[in-house]
């Protein structure tokens, strides 16, 4: 590893699923208020946090993501009234299973963030990037099976 290789420290790749009504608007507000967070976060817009299928999350990890965060409206504020309640249950079970399989539980997170909470959105993204960076590259979800 040459010298500049050393300097180029590990940059995590983070996929964020943001619900169109609250957290995506929150992300826009963070943007318009110039509240920065690392460029490693890439946001995918979904109609509701209830739309995020565990297949997408595992697909992201399979394709090399190091962290996945799902943002939605605060329970009770969902634009479709119940979307985030189902998402909350699905993610609770999925995260518990991933932890059970030995995957570091810092790699996944759910955050409720309303359209007016630009600051909270940026703070959450900074915290999450820090946490994923400290966990390093996602190796475990990559090779739970040795090559034969």
């Amino acid at each position: 590893m040459s010298m500049n290789e050393e300097k180029k420290e590990f940059r995590p790749l983070i996929v964020a699923f943001c619900c169109n009504w609250c957290s995506y608007a929150g992300a826009d507000l963070a943007g318009s208020s110039r509240l920065s967070y690392p460029a490693d976060v890439k946001i995918i817009r979904v109609p509701c946090s209830g739309r995020v299928n565990p297949m997408f999350i595992l697909r992201a990890f399979e394709r090399g993501a190091d962290g996945v965060i799902i943002c939605g409206c605060h329970p009770g504020d969902c634009h479709y009234s119940t979307g985030n309640y189902y998402a909350r249950r699905r993610m609770a079970l999925l995260f518990s299973m991933l932890e059970y399989m030995g995957i570091e539980n810092g790699r996944t997170r759910v955050e409720w963030c309303s359209a007016a909470e630009g600051a909270k959105f940026s703070k959450t993204m900074n915290e999450f990037c820090e946490k994923v960076k400290s966990l390093g590259e996602n190796v475990r979800l990559g090779d739970l099976r040795c090559k034969n």
């Binding site: 565990p54 595992l58 309640y85 249950r89 609770a92 299973m97 932890e99 539980n105 759910v110 099976r145």
Partner: protein
Amino acid sequence: MQELINRLKELIADGTVVRAIGWKKGDMPYNPEPAYFEKPEDFDDFVYDGFCGANLSKMMIEASKLEGKTAVCLKPCDTYSFNQLIREHRVVRENAYIIGVACRGKLDIEKARKEGIKGIKSVTGIDIEGDGEVVFDTIYGEKKMAYSDLMLDRCHVCKGKDHVIFDEVIGESKDTDDADRFEEVRKIEKMTPEERFAFFKSELSKCIRCNACRNVCPACSCRKCVFDGTKFDSQQKANVDSFEEKMFHIIRAFHVAGRCTDCGECSRVCPEGIPLHLFNRKFIKDIDDFYGEFQAGKDPEAQSPLTDFTFDDLEPKDAVGRGE
């Protein structure tokens, strides 16, 4: 067993049912196969003994489409799966005549093989009514094993011997529940993340992607599985990269979460002996911890936990890190 055969013959004779689903004698004493019985003479090789472990409720999906009623022999744990299939409109209750058969725990020939019992010619002591030891007459002499040592793991954590849905019950069951259902899951939860990861890595690396666990599971009854179809571009026929098994097993366990009745078929049929029930039981344990006791299939009207919610459900961040 004879009483069961006579009753089935009687049902076919008096026209209540057109056919019956049960077990046919296998060419080995320990491998009876699920089969259809229509004519009285078919019943000559009908068998119901300790090795008839298969859950026949999934065969009723196709059988209930045929015209005329079908009698089906369901063990107590199979009836939960049948209830779940009714709830999801996959079987037509009117076309099924359910005979709740007695059960005193089902046997696993792998356990005999692990004890080095080979060249088996015949086995006695495995009929439903009997008790006491199982005697193997093998080429290398006679070998004995206690019935409970030969029993499948799932029967040690049996959910109880009363049938949840039946038209009639034949025979006396004997309780076999002598272990804590979530003990293995707790043991794994107490391990460190590295140990847990190593455990699942070694187990899942045995998987040969034969889909037996999916095709036998009564809860996994999709017409076309998401892993076969093109809906998610997730066509995964073989383990191209190491992640595929995980994705397959996690998603399969997730799809049956809240619907899995813990009948243990997936672990029974896995050619590589992977303890697949550990995934489903983990979800069942979590659902019980997070959202209150729920046994799939016990009450067909109950709303499955994953299609239900309460305002103050627990937050995903509190679902993890409970161990530390």
